[in-house]
Amino acid sequence: EAEVAQSPRYKITEKSQAVAFWCDPISGHATLYWYRQILGQGPELLVQFQDESVVDDSQLPKDRFSAERLKGVDSTLKIQPAELGDSAMYLCASSPVGIEQYFGPGTRLTVT
């Protein structure tokens, strides 16, 4: 069964450092999402791509976060500089036609 791949699974970084996460969606899924999930809360959408175009990045803190999906396949989410409040699980999800979303295993980020 096809799955969404994410790496790394865990990342510890110091405050003010740069960090990047990678996501490879299920083959053929045109829509890709990045979510942030703080412990005990539901996922919060950061950015949504349709192919290589950004559809929604209204909740992305653009002063420090950036996301790209250059060829409309895999995607990278970057944080620079990282802050203590960025500690969370970063989830990537993909969707074939914008209906059900399939999540990857996530990257747990700890900022010290």
Binding site: G42, L45, I99
Partner: protein
Amino acid sequence: QQPVQSPQAVILREGEDAVINCSSSKALYSVHWYRQKHGEAPVFLMILLKGGEQKGHEKISASFNEKKQQSSLYLTASQLSYSGTYFCGMRPAGGGNKLTFGTGTQLKVEL
């Protein structure tokens, strides 16, 4: 605005039933239900697209009342494997496919 789920947490003995509710202040196009186990990614359970629709997945079913902007998830004859946090995701009516996830319900099934 974030959908509100109730209860926040529930503990069941194996074989008991539970209902999890989710409500929104906005008109809805669809409701999605996910289960997340500790430290893992959310797993898709089902999607409800039409007002008044009910769907089932083995012993887990759900309903969607479009007029009341509410959905309920029904777990019958609970099993230990049902333990986890359940999230509803709601997609607004009128276009766009952004899901806003609810506050979550922690479910624990014990022997």
